[in-house]
Point group: C2
Chain length 258, copies 2
């Protein structure tokens, strides 16, 4: 099977124009088929404030009400996505912006209301690879923002890490997929203050141990869960590390295995 | 050659949810290859106001400064475009949102500064049909917003009427193209207050006469100019009329010819 690289970038790159330009240089130069997935960074919160609204949070988690959904659709799907696409075009990387609605590529359902009503938050049900794959076969690079839809006309706000993992799982039927999560650290750290304490490999057993011994920062748990699930469901390699890591095999990072 | 319908809708449809739903029902049901082009409606001005900014106008024309460019990118490329795509998916019309940066489809240049500096307003230089055409051939419907790019990473705000005309001209090399402009009137009117006074056909000679006799509303002149230019450059049929007109040959409208 052909190789496919799926790379997810988050706020630390999106919020820093110099880092973003550097990342896009490296990304555009990759000569394998590739997909970029981006989160939202601070821009959504900034727009919320400019509009005189307060981000709604319950137990530390963002609630996507109607106004928030409009904001993330505008910021993720409009401003960030279109600017990244334009900047890739400037690097001769022919790319095209996607939400999950585009090409019906990612179908989600509104998260059921339990003790908390998350509003228009979407949990992914299904990835349709067909339209995206047609573009990949024509050397066009899809750039995904963190918006999905429910096939009934409703857009939904969906975690970008999960979008990257679900795309990687779905494309594993067609390609040998490598999935890369770029973030502000060099990998999963044994000691949060020591950027050199990168844990080289994590499998299910190691993850249980790390959780039990409370070695891993709580915020990292869902990220690691996404990675292990991707590996379990057929993604060939999954890595977490810094923004140079997908482009250089010698850079330290955390690699996941079953 | 195969047929291709290119339909442009403006504020009167986008600002009215009932009209928009009705239009999308008709549009989704069209069984020829088709492209939708949408303007922005009031949403961009509304967001500008919500953010406490004033739209900048010189001699009645909008100036696209950096903040305005961000707003139109968010509103046209994000909110309106992604919602239309999601609503077409709900009607089993597989569609995909485009700005001119996506697939490098529409290349423009920043309008040169003369007496007026229009800011990030883009004048179209070139349409690349290749990526859009791959999608059309796979029954995927492109939905264009009024944003282009300059191939150097700069997004540009571009008139949606012109985008529709330039797409129609470029695709005339590959398809028998019909171009439809939907707006709030039944066509070009002889008498602006009489919605039944639709001028049935306009060619270059008639246009000169209408201008000379000051029969046409000034705001209509650039629209008519776009239409006649499209006809001159190979678009098979060009019509201006109401939002039902593209779907029913019996509805009165204005048709352009050389």
């Amino acid at each position: 099977m052909k190789s496919l690289k799926i790379i997810k970038i988050g706020g630390n790159i999106i919020n820093n124009d110099l880092l973003l330009q550097e990342f896009l240089d490296d990304f555009a130069a990759l000569d394998t088929p590739k997909i970029l997935v981006h989160g939202g960074g601070k821009a959504a919160s900034e727009l919320t404030q400019k509009m005189g609204l307060n981000p709604k949070m319950i137990q530390g988690r963002r609630i996507t009400d109607t106004e928030t959904l409009d904001i993330v659709t505008m910021v993720y799907g409009g401003k960030i996505n279109k600017n990244i696409v334009a900047q890739l075009q400037a690097r001769n990387c022919n790319s095209i912006g996607f939400s999950g609605a585009d090409g019906n590529s990612i179908v989600a359902m509104k998260r059921p209301v339990t003790a908390i009503d998350y509003g228009f938050a979407g949990d992914i049900i299904h990835v349709n690879t067909d339209v995206v794959n047609i573009l990949l076969q024509h050397d066009v690079t899809p750039v995904f923002c963190a918006i999905t839809h429910n096939e009934n006309g409703q857009l939904l706000n969906t975690n970008a890490d999960t979008i990257a993992a679900e795309l990687a799982i779905a494309f594993s039927k067609l390609y040998t997929v490598s999935l890369y999560y770029c973030f502000e650290k060099n990998g999963v750290l044994k000691s949060v203050h020591d950027d050199n304490s990168v844990i080289k490999k994590i499998d299910f057993t190691a993850f249980e141990q790390l959780k039990k011994n409370k070695i891993i920062n709580e915020g990292m748990l869902p990220k690691i869960h996404n990675c292990l699930q991707a590996v379990e469901k057929g993604v060939t390699t999954v890595h977490i590390g810094n923004n140079k890591m997908p482009f250089n095999n010698n850079i330290k990072c955390t690699t996941f295995q079953q």
